[in-house]
Each structure stands twice: as C-alpha cells, then as structure tokens.
C-alpha cells in the first residue's frame, strides 16, 4: 500500500494512503475534538467540530478528509479555533442548558467539548425548539430538543438493526430525527433495543429511568423486595466505577444491592439454566415430533419485538420459553412465595438488565399468566449504577458477597447467555448429553463464539447431524429470517440476539459500548464460564431440586402455565379500504 508523508502541527508523520487526518493526528498524540464521529460508525462529517486548516484560507473536517502527500495540517490556528468555537456556540444556542438536570450530566460528549473550549459567553440568542418529549414507551424516552442531529441513532436504527424507525426528516431549522409522521415510539415498530440510547452523544434519547419506583418499593415496609442480576451486567457495571470493561464485579454488585436494601439478591443465571432445560427439551421434542423447525431462541425481548413486527408469519419458529428474566419473575411469585410463605402480592421483583427492551417485556400482557406480574420493575445497568452512586456506596472498595438461596447456584452455561452464541453453546452442552447420553469431550463450542454477524456449527446427535446458527444484530437476524422465508434454511436451531455482541452490548449498558469494549466484556464472560465448577445447565443441583420440588419435568404442566408463552403479530395494518372509500366520496362529490 502507498504511504503519505505529511506534517501535522510541525510534526512529520508517514501513514498509509487512505488514513484520515483525524487518525493520523492520533498517531502524533493529537486528539482532534469530534462530536458526530463514532468509532464503530461511518464517517458523517455533519457536526463540523473537527475542523483543521490545510491551506491559507481552507478548513476541512479531519474525520472525513484523507491525508495527502505533502499536506501541512494545522489543528489549532486562530481560524480553526475561532471557527470551531463558533460551531459549538451555534450548537449551544439550540441546546437546552439544563445540564445539571440532564440524565447524561457528566457523560455528555457535548458537555466535554464545552469544558474543552470553555465558552463562557456568546452573543447568540438561545433558540430551543419547542418539541414535546416522547414518553410514550415504558423503555425509551426521546427528548429531541436536546438532539444535535449527529445521525448516530439513525445509523444503528436503519443499518445495524434494520428496524428503520428513526430517520431524518424536514429541512433547515425543522430538520430533525423522527419516526415517520412524527409518531411517538410506542406507535411505531420500534423494538426498544436502546442501541440509539447507547450511541447518542447527548441526552436526546435515553432509557426510561425507573429508579424512583425502586426506591419507593425499598422504603415500603410491607413489600418483600427481591432482585435478579443478568449475566451481562457483572462484566460491565464496573466501568461506571472506574474498572476496565470485562472486569468481573459480581460480588461487589451483590454487596451493593444488599446495602441498597434489597431483601434477597439472586442471579438470573439460575433461570438461564432453567431456560436451557426447557428450551433444550422443546428442541428435542420438536425434532422428534415434527414440530416447526428451525426453532429460534426467545430470550431477547428486542428480537421478539422485531419478529412480531416484521416477520409475524414466522412466529411459530420462536421457542415458547419465556426469557430467563420472566422465568425468574414467574418463579418468584410462585415457587419462591410458597417456599418463603409470603403472599405473592407482597413480593416486589426487580431485575437488573443490560437492556431497555426488558422494560417493555416486563410490561407485556403475556407476562402475568397466573394472576401476578412476573417482574415488577426493570433497571438497566446504567440505572443501577445511578442508584449505587446516589446511595454513596464506595463500589470500588466494597467487599464481595454471595448470592442468596435458592436462586444463587448457577453454571457456566448460564453466564455465557450474556454473549452472542452463549445460549446456543449452553443448549448444545445440554442437548448433546441428554440425547446421546455421552459426556462431551470439550465443552467449548468456539465456532459460535465471537463478534462475527452470523455463525454456524454442526453437531452430531447420535448419528443425526444438526446444523445450528447464531445471529446478533437485527440486520443479521433478518438475513436468517429471509432464508427461512425462502425455504432455503437448513438450520435446526438458531440463536438470535437483538443487540450486536449479544447482551453485553445491550442498550442499557454503560455509555461507551464500542466494539472494542464489547470484546473485552465478552472475554470477561467466557473467563467466568471457564472458572466455574459447574458448566452444564442440567448438572445444576438447584435446578434438579426445583424440578423435584415444584415443576415435575421439563415441558410439564406447571412449566407450561408459568414458564412458556406465545407471541402475536404486531405489524402495521393498513386501512386501505378506508382510504379507497375516502376517494370514492371525493370522486362522487365532484
């Protein structure tokens, strides 16, 4: 490859052709300020902050301009600084300045720029758009007064997830990011994955904060408040307290939750193991009895929302198992209530999830089949961190503690639910041994691990080879669904996770979930699995006990009542008849 030699702020550097000025500057230790730029996304160059000077009277954006041989780049001439400050002043004049009240206070990329440029005074008159905040959904809030129009959310919504709810529309001062016809999110096919909230540089789109609801429950003496923690949270929440991504802080989270006042602290991994038992047997049953294949996993609520909205005809492929969160909730109001002799109505079940769609899932009408709501409130990783900070808990130095019984004993198979490919791997570990009665030589199905969009593997089940696939990110899921639709799919079992990377990349995870960070979280997850004594769900003694004491057998009567469910189409219905009628009337009137 050809290389270019150029000068950046008096420093000569040689870089490969095609390198941008922004990247080249990093190599000489200059971090040119950016705003719309995101390491995992296409170059957009629409905020115009990253200006540099490349000629006596010429500024270009460093993010979008490739270096040229002999270029002389100045990153902070008077013209550059004055113009950058001018651009920032323009953004600020259209941005509400209630930073202290903003959910992104302290984690806002615009705030950081302001700190950097220190704009103490501007002659511009503020003009904030008077737009209504969209609080229609239980998961995501959109405050587009704060939107700086960087278009990052559009890229995740349109390209990465292929959901296509958010787009730009209008022009000039009316230019905005919006669903079609300015609909509220709840009235669109939004899947509530929250990937938009995770890439938003400011507080224009964010998780619905339910922390007050939790405080309220915790302070209510009549309530027995219990909590479950999803696998992906334990390798990411540390980031909020200065730990590196992927650092396992399970024991610290448990301790912090007890300090917050939860009566019992449990592990969602327990019901992840239970999911494997139920889903594994469902798969075996479908294979044996000619059920709909391929069977597709159902633990990811964003994914469920997607297939309901975009491929309702394929809903039969979805496993009937509820997600681990909901299975936990169901057990908490039945098995656990009975065991503890507490009236289910007095149990308040909270979950800590890496996910915004879990909030929507918990409120689904399907999730209270036996008279009680499975899960009463869902907090994202970010919200839990907020609560811990608010309670002045010194998370970094708190001593580790252990989960409570009976939902505290778990396996390595459960923890890997947090990474793409994990559910598949966990299921294979169990299904193989149940079907063949042989012990697996190696528990690591490395083919299904990693960040590649669609992964495949083949397993021999007593002479019957089955093909399985793993997809994460909805645009990858769509590819697999299209294969099924066209009858070209030879997979027997498919794992789909809504978010790229799986739950460790969920929309409720700490801000800054870049691919690099996600890979470290995934490493953390497999590290936990490797060090677990038990690594197969069917070997979990607490699960065995649960079947003995309560459920009977996988896919049994009780399971069906409380652990399984069905989903329904959610696609847009067009009222064409109405439309046609309207025009016939118009025609006759003439």
């Amino acid at each position: 490859m050809k290389s270019c030699t150029l000068i950046i702020d008096n420093k000569e550097i040689t870089v490969p052709e095609g390198t941008t000025i922004l990247e080249a500057a990093k190599k000489v230790s200059i971090n040119i300020p950016t705003l719309c730029n995101h390491p995992d996304q296409q170059v957009k160059a629409n905020c115009r902050i990253c200006l540099v000077q490349v000629g006596p009277d010429k500024l270009v954006t460093a993010c979008s301009t490739p270096v040229k041989d002999g270029m002389n780049v100045i990153t902070h001439s008077k013209l550059v600084r004055d113009t950058q400050r001018g651009v920032l002043e323009l953004i600020l004049a259209n941005h509400p300045q209630d930073c202290l009240k903003c959910i992104r206070n302290g984690k806002c990329e615009l705030q950081k720029l302001c700190e950097m440029f220190h704009i103490s005074k501007s002659n511009l008159e503020d003009e904030i758009d008077s737009l209504e905040v969209d609080e229609s959904s239980p998961a995501i809030i959109r405050d587009h007064r704060k939107c700086i129009k960087c278009n990052r959310c559009i890229e995740v919504c349109q390209e990465v997830q292929g959901v296509g709810v958010l787009s730009h529309a209008h022009r000039s001062v009316d230019y905005c990011i919006t669903p079609a016809f300015e609909k509220k999110l709840m009235n669109t096919l939004c899947v509530f994955c929250g990937q938009c909230t995770s890439v938003c540089p400011v507080g224009a789109i964010y998780e619905k904060d339910d922390t007050e609801k939790i405080w309220h429950a915790l302070y209510d003496e009549n309530l027995h408040v219990i909590v479950q923690i999803a696998p992906a949270v334990r390798v990411s929440i540390g980031e909020e307290f200065g730990f590196d991504p992927g650092t396992k802080v399970t024991g610290k989270v448990i301790a912090a939750l007890r300090r917050l006042g939860f009566d019992k602290v449990f592990d969602t991994n327990f019901t992840a193991d239970l999911t494997i038992m139920e889903e594994g047997h469902e798969l075996i049953d479908r294979i044996k009895n000619g059920g709909t294949l391929p069977m597709i996993t159902s633990c990811s609520p964003g994914w469920i929302n997607y297939i309901e909205g975009f491929y309702p005809d394929l809903l039969d492929h979805i496993s009937t198992c509820k997600s681990p969160q909901q299975m936990f909730g169901a057990l908490s109001k039945t098995y656990y209530a009975e065991k503890m002799n507490i009236d289910p109505s007095q149990i308040f079940t909270v979950s800590i999830m890496p996910c915004t769609a879990k909030k929507y899932e918990a409120e689904r009408k399907e999730m209270s089949s036996y008279g009680y709501r499975d899960v009463d409130a869902v907090l994202t990783t970010r919200e839990l961190a907020r609560m811990i900070k608010s309670a002045s808990i010194d998370f970094a130095n708190i001593n580790e503690e252990d989960f409570d019984d009976p939902f505290g004993i778990t396996t390595g198979a459960a923890v890997i639910f947090g990474a793409t490919g994990g559910v598949m791997e966990a299921a294979l570990r169990t299904v193989y041994e149940v079907v063949t009665d042989n012990e697996l030589e190696s528990l690591d199905f490395t083919e299904v691990r990693g960040i590649e969009g669609i992964k495949e593997a083949e397993v021999d089940l007593n002479g019957t080879p089955i093909k399985v696939a793993v997809a994460h990110g909805l645009s990858n899921a769509r590819k697999v669904l299209e294969l099924i639709k066209q009858g070209k799919c030879d997979y027997t079992f498919i794992e789909v996770m809504c978010c790229p990377g799986g739950c460790i990349g969920g929309g409720g995870q700490p801000i800054g979930s870049t691919t690099e960070v996600k890979e470290k979280r995934i490493e953390g997850i497999y590290d936990i699995d490797k060090n677990m004594k038990l690594r197969k769900s069917h070997e979990n003694p607490a699960i065995r006990k649960l079947y003995e004491e309560f459920l009977g057998e996988p896919l049994g009567k009780i399971s069906h009542k409380i652990l399984h469910t069905h989903y329904s189409p959610r696609n847009e219905k067009l009222d064409l008849e109405y439309l046609q009628k309207q025009y016939e009337v118009a025609a006759t009137e003439e």
């Binding site: 160059a45 323009l90 529309a169 000039s172």
Partner: protein, 421 residues
C-alpha cells in the same frame, strides 16, 4: 447598438420546438455528426481549443474535466445534465429548455460519446414542470429520427435520455444531492469519498455537467472551438448566457461575450434602471453571489476581472437594484431564501442561517445592536469556512459583501441608545 451575441442562443425563438426538421434546417445535429467523426479525443481537443469552462459556477475547464473522466474504466456509465436551475434571479436555462431542447439533447449525446456512456439523465427543476413534457417530446422526436436511442446514425452507439423531475429543493443543484434524489432519497449532499466521475449515480462512473455547458459543447462542435474562442477575452473565451432582472427596463435572458462591462449589460442591453432611478447595487450569480455596488459597474464581465474583485460569475444572474432599496431589506429576502433551502444536515448551515436570520430581522426592524453587526459577521464566516456543502459556504456571501460595501446601511438600523440625563 446590440451588445448581445447569438452563438449558443442562435436558435432561440427561431424554430418551432415541436419540429425536428426545423432544427435540422438550422444546422441541428451537425455537431453530433462531427462528434462521431472526431471521437472522444477529437471532441476533447476541440473543447480545449475553445477554452470552455463549466457554466455551473465552478468554472473548471470542461476539456480537462472530460479528459480526466474518460480515463475512468467501467461498463456502465452515466451522463447527468443539471438543469435544476434553482439560483434565484436565474432563468437562462429555462430559455435553453424552452427554445432549444434539441441542442441540449445533442450536447448530452456528445458527452455520452466522449465518456462512452449509454444512459443520460436530465434533472429539470420541478418549477419548470410545464417544460418537462415538451422536453420529453423533443427526446421522442430525436429518437424517431435516429439521433438518439439505439444505433444512433448507424454508428452502433446507443444513448438514451431520461427526464428526471426535481421536487423543489435548491440544494439539489449540488451534484451529490442531485444524485441522492435520483436514487430515491431526500436530497441532502453526501460525503464525497471519490470523484463523481468515478463514483456517482448508483456508484457508477458519472459525468455531470450543467445544461449551459452541454449546450455550449454542441455549439462548439458545430462552429469549431477556434471560432467559439474568438469571442470573449484572452482568459475568458467565448460567451455566457445571463439572466438580467430586477429594477431594469428590459429583463430577460441574453447571451454576451465575456469582457463586456457590467455597465454595458445594464444600460445597453437592459435599457437602464427602471423609472429612471439611480443604480444602487447588483447581485451577481444569484442568491449565493455577492453584492456589487454601483461604483464597480465598469468591471468587465469575465472570470479574471471579477475573481480579482472577489466576485464569481456563478449562475450568470445579474440582479439590478435601484436606489429605493434598503440593503438590509434585500439581505432579508436572500436570508429567508437560505433559511428555507438549507438541508439541515450540518450545524453551521442549519444553525448559522437560523441565527443570522434572527439578527437580520433585527436590522430590518431597527432593533439591532452594535454587537449584532459583529455577531453576524463572525457567524457568516463560520458558515463560509465550516459548512458541509456549497450552499452553506456561499449563503453568507451577499451578507459579507454587503458589510464590506455598505457598512453605513447597517449602522442606520442600529437602535440608538438614548442617554439618560
């Protein structure tokens, strides 16, 4: 004395555009025939001799542009003719579409021969909708007579033209925005990671030219590059279509040789300022062009002399404003235009236009402060240096030139602060 010339415009109103025979009688399609004889190299050579520069505003030498483009490999290539004439005060392309559509078709086909492209798009602004069908008819007639379509004049060369209607967006005159809208998207300029000639429409090699440039190409091949180059000055050869309008006695589209003075254009061609009023200023090149005070009308209308004075020929619009107009009122209409037309994509253009509009309104309403003058100048420069595309970069041109030439007019609208005694 008639100062206009009839070179590119020689056929205007000389024939019935529904009759291709009348066009042929006037020498029509002789350029096309010559183009086949010359081949790409010969065509480019003729253009180089003529010294034709792109008439869309950038004034890049057409011969050189086409020469570079011919080096781009590709099986499927596209010609785009930009007839999205959206610059306010500009209407000369309308004359080309209305009075000489065959010449435009001929020019596009010659571009096709040169670039080895078989598909052409002419992007005509929606506002000229009443001309779309007329143009389609001309395409149809040309095809029927084998000057367009399959195996043109038995040369084996195929070329077809599609009329694409704009939909009311000034920014679509910018070629990447124009391409986005043909591709079915909203017409916002896109990041150009490669030249349009390499990756244009549908990422195919695309040669995009302004309609006047293509009409000039057809003219040059008809009369010869040398003949065309006889018009004009040493550095600005040839002729230019202008749109003369405003407070002028004889508004209209005219063709002038480069080198004519602005004064001659206004008084000899335009018949002088309306109602015998005194001239106050001109705006050259449309809304995105600078304001030129009456004191500068002895300037020659040519690339060199205008550029030396910070003026671009731009769209060829010459707007005449008389002494009764207030500069700030005029700027308001320019500003309102850009506020309406900004695509909204980048910060400087979206927010800059918003803020500058507010401040100009304060000047119009006599409510401005002395800070306001500094502030608009500062943010006009932010727009000029930082905007994503040409729209935002040139939107403050009129304002900046007005501040330079008519500073007093701004002071007159600053709210006087009365001292309390």
């Amino acid at each position: 004395m008639d100062r206009t010339v009839k070179v590119i415009s020689k056929n205007f109103k000389k024939y019935n555009v529904e009759s291709i025979d009348e066009y042929i009688k006037l020498g029509g399609f002789s350029a096309l025939k010559k183009a086949f004889d010359l081949g790409p190299k010969g065509i480019i050579n003729e253009l180089k001799i003529s010294d034709l520069k792109g008439r869309g505003g950038a004034a890049f030498p057409t011969g050189k542009k086409w020469e570079q483009a011919t080096k781009v490999p590709g099986d499927r290539k596209i010609i785009i003719c930009n007839a999205d004439e959206g610059e306010p005060a500009t209407f000369k392309d309308r004359y080309l579409l209305e009075y000489d559509p065959f010449k435009v078709i001929e020019g596009m086909t010659i571009a096709g021969i040169t670039f080895n492209a078989n598909e052409g798009f002419i992007y005509i602004r929606e506002e000229y909708k009443y001309l779309h069908d007329k143009f389609k008819k001309a395409i149809q007639l040309t095809k029927e007579n084998n000057y367009l379509g399959q195996n043109i004049l038995n040369t084996g060369f195929n070329f077809d033209i599609t009329v694409f209607s704009g939909a009311g967006a000034y920014v679509c005159g910018e070629s990447t925005a124009l391409i986005e809208s043909i591709e079915g998207k909203s017409g916002r300029p896109r990041l150009k990671l490669a030249r349009t000639s390499e990756k244009g429409l549908y990422d195919l090699p695309t040669l995009a030219n302004n309609i006047e440039t293509l009409a000039a190409v057809a003219t040059i091949l008809e009369i010869g590059g040398e003949e065309y180059a006889k018009y004009g000055t040493k550095n600005s050869k040839g002729t230019k279509l202008i749109s003369l309008c405003g407070n002028i006695n004889k508004p209209g589209a005219y063709e002038v040789p480069f080198g004519i003075t602005l004064k001659e254009i206004i008084y000899d061609i335009g018949g002088g300022v309306k109602n015998g009023n005194a001239l106050k200023f001109l705006q050259l090149g449309g809304a995105s062009g600078p304001i030129v005070p009456a004191s500068m009308i002895d300037l020659k209308y040519c690339y060199n002399e205008l550029n030396a004075n910070g003026i671009n020929i731009g769209s060829g619009a010459i707007l005449v404003a008389d002494e009764t107009n207030k500069v700030v009122d005029f700027l308001k209409s320019v500003q309102d235009f850009f506020l309406h037309e900004s695509c909204g994509k980048c910060t400087p253009c979206r927010e800059g236009n918003r803020q500058i509009t507010k401040i100009i309104n304060r000047f119009v309403n006599d409510e401005a402060s002395i800070e306001d003058l500094k502030t608009i100048e500062k943010f006009a420069n932010v727009m000029k240096y930082a905007s994503f595309c040409g729209l935002g970069k040139t939107a403050p041109t009129a304002l900046l030139s007005a501040i330079k030439h008519f500073p007093i007019e701004f002071y007159q609208h600053i709210k006087t602060v009365r001292k309390t005694s």
